[in-house]
Symmetry: C2
Subunit: 319 residues, 2 copies
C-alpha cells in the first residue's frame, strides 16, 4: 500500500515541539517571539531542473533547501526559530524522503530551527520553505543602510558553486577531486547565521548573495541610494577557483550565483569590530571595496585600473 | 523584452508596507505581533492539475490561493496579519499575472492581510502561500479540545465544490446556472475568518474542512481522544445540492473536500453563544451532531438509524 500523506508527515517530518507553542499537525503553527523581538520571515521555492539537478543526493537537497532560507535570516541578522515545509513530489519515495528529511533536519538541528508545519502534495518536485527567526526590534540588518565611506565586505569565498555548475554543463573540465570540492559548495552551502547575528549594530547594510555578487550588490546600492568601488582582485576565492583562467574566475566570482555568502557594509572606523565579529562567528570576512556617494558600480583591479563589467546577474525570467 | 523577475514583483505584487515593519523587497519581512499575541502561521501549496484546473480564471485562482490559507487561520481563531507568496510559473504572462494578483490582493485587502514577501521562479505552475495571523496567547482554537457532550457544528453549506468537480469530470450533468453557482463555491471559497475570531473562548476545538468532512472530523476526534455521532440529514446543503439524488448528496457532503467551512465543537450549554457568534460573523452555523466518549464515528439519519459510511477522505498520495 502506498504511503499516505498523513503517514508520510508522521514518519519523516513529525518531531516533538520545542520552543514553538505548537508543532506539526494543527491547522496553524503558533510562534511566540520573545518580548522585544520582531519575527523575521522569508520563503524560497526550489524547482527541480531549475534550482537543483535531478541527480543531487536527497540528503544534500534537504540541506540546501533549508540553507538558502537560513541565509536570508542571516542577511537580516535574525536568529533561527522555526520553519515550515511545503513539498510537492511525483510519488512518496521512502528512500528519497528518508535522505531528504535527514539532511533537512540535521541542518535544522544545527541551527536550533524547528519544523512546525507544512503541506505535502503530489505533483512536480517543488520544495517551498518558509523560515522564521527573531531579531531585536529595530536591529534587523537591511539592504538600505549603506553610506558613502563604508567598507564593503563579503564572507567566505565566492564562485565555487558556479564553477561546479559549469563543469556539470560541460563548458569546462575539472579533475575528480576538484569537482567533488566545488560540487560540495554548490550542494551544501553553509548559511552565515552566526555572522549575521554578530553583525547586528555593526553592519550598516547586508544582503545574501544568491543571484551573483554583481546583481545582489546592485540591489543593495539601489536600496541605499549609493554607489561603490569594487576591487575584483580582492574577491576571496578557493584554491580550486584560483587555478582556473582569470576570465573564468571573474565570471564565477562576479556573476556566479548560489554563493549564500553575506555581502555587507560597515563604517570605515569599525574595521576592527568587523574582524572581531568574523572571528567570533568562525567565518572569514574580506574587505572587497568601498561605498561611494556617486551612484553606480566601479570595478577596479589590484592596481586600481578599471575593469569592464560584462556580466549579468541571474534572473529567473530572463535566462 | 520579457518581463523580468524583479520587474514582475514590482509591477504586480509590490504595495506600500502597512502594519508589518518591512514590506516586499528585503531579505526577510519583519513581523511584530502585538504584546500578548502569538503569531499563527500556515502554508498551503497549490499545484496545477491537482488543486485547480488550468481553465480556472486567474482572478479566481488568486482568490482561492489565499482563501485556503486564511481558512487555516480561521480554524485557529487567528486574525489575518500578512502573507508571503512563492510562485513558480512557466512564463511571465502579464494578462495572467494581472488577473491573479487582482483576485489575490482583493481578498487580502478584504481581510487586512498584507503581502510582505515571496519568491518567483520559472517552472510548473505552483503557488505556495504562507499566511500569518495574530491570536491572544493561549486562546488559539486547536483540534484537540473536544469533550464528550459537546455539540458538533459546521459553518455554511457543504458539498457544492465537490458537486462542481463531478460536473467537470463528467460523472453528472448540471444545468448551466446550477453549474455556475456550484463552480463559484469551488473557485471562490469564503474563509470563515470572522467566525473563527468570534469562536475564541467558546469553541472547544476547530478545524477547517479541506479534505472532506469525514476525514477532517476524524483528525479532530483522534486529536481530542473522543468519538462522535453525526446526523447526516442535518448536514447543511445548498438548494443545488439538495436537488441531486440522495447518494450524490451524501457523497458530496461527507467526502467532498474543498469546502473551507469550519467544523467545531462547543459545550452543550453554550448553544446560545454559538448562535450569537455566528450572527455576529454573518455566517450560518448548523449543529450536526455531538461528541461522545466512545471512540469512532457513528453516522445516523434524521430518524436515528445507522447510516453506512463508505466514503473516504482525500489523501494526496492515495488518490
Amino acid at each position: 500500500m502506498p504511503l499516505g500523506e498523513f503517514d508520510l508527515i508522521a514518519r519523516f517530518f513529525s518531531r516533538p515541539a520545542r520552543r514553538a507553542a505548537l508543532g506539526v499537525g494543527d491547522d496553524c503553527a503558533l510562534l511566540a517571539p520573545a518580548p522585544g523581538m520582531q519575527l523575521a520571515t522569508s520563503c524560497d521555492m526550489l524547482v527541480e531542473g531549475r534550482h537543483f539537478l535531478s541527480t543531487v543526493a536527497p540528503e544534500r537537497l534537504g540541506h540546501k533547501a533549508l540553507a538558502v532560507n537560513l541565509s536570508d535570516l542571516a542577511a537580516c541578522g535574525a536568529a533561527p526559530l522555526a520553519f515550515t515545509l511545503a513539498l510537492s513530489m511525483p510519488n512518496a519515495d521512502e528512500a528519497w524522503l528518508e535522505g531528504f528529511s535527514r539532511g533537512l533536519l540535521a541542518l535544522a538541528d544545527a541551527h536550533g530551527c524547528e519544523l512546525v508545519g507544512g503541506d505535502t502534495t503530489r505533483g512536480p518536485l517543488v520544495i517551498c520553505i518558509s523560515v522564521f527567526g527573531e531579531v531585536p526590534a529595530g536591529q534587523a540588518l537591511l539592504r538600505s543602510g549603506a553610506r558613502a565611506g563604508d567598507g564593503l565586505y563579503v564572507s567566505g569565498t565566492l564562485g565555487d558553486a558556479r564553477l561546479a555548475l559549469e563543469a556539470v554543463r560541460g563548458t569546462l573540465e575539472l579533475a575528480g577531486e576538484t569537482f567533488a570540492q566545488v560540487r560540495r559548495a554548490m550542494e551544501l552551502p553553509q548559511p552565515r547565521v552566526a555572522l549575521g547575528v554578530a553583525l547586528r549594530g555593526l553592519a550598516t547594510s547586508a544582503i545574501d548573495i544568491s543571484d551573483g555578487l554583481l546583481g545582489d550588490l546592485a540591489h543593495l546600492l539601489r536600496r541605499s541610494g549609493v554607489g561603490a568601488r569594487l576591487d575584483v582582485d580582492a574577491l576571496p576565492r578557493s584554491a580550486q577557483l584560483a587555478a582556473q583562467p582569470l576570465a573564468v574566475q571573474r565570471e564565477c566570482l562576479l556573476a556566479g550565483g548560489d554563493d549564500y555568502e553575506l555581502l555587507f557594509t560597515a563604517p570605515a572606523d569599525r574595521a576592527g569590530a568587523v574582524r572581531d565579529a568574523a572571528a567570533a562567528a568562525g567565518v572569514a570576512v574580506t574587505r572587497i571595496g568601498a561605498i561611494e556617494a556617486e551612484p553606480g558600480l566601479r570595478l577596479v583591479d589590484a592596481d586600481g585600473r578599471a575593469v569592464a563589467a560584462t556580466w549579468g546577474s541571474f534572473d529567473h525570467f530572463r535566462t
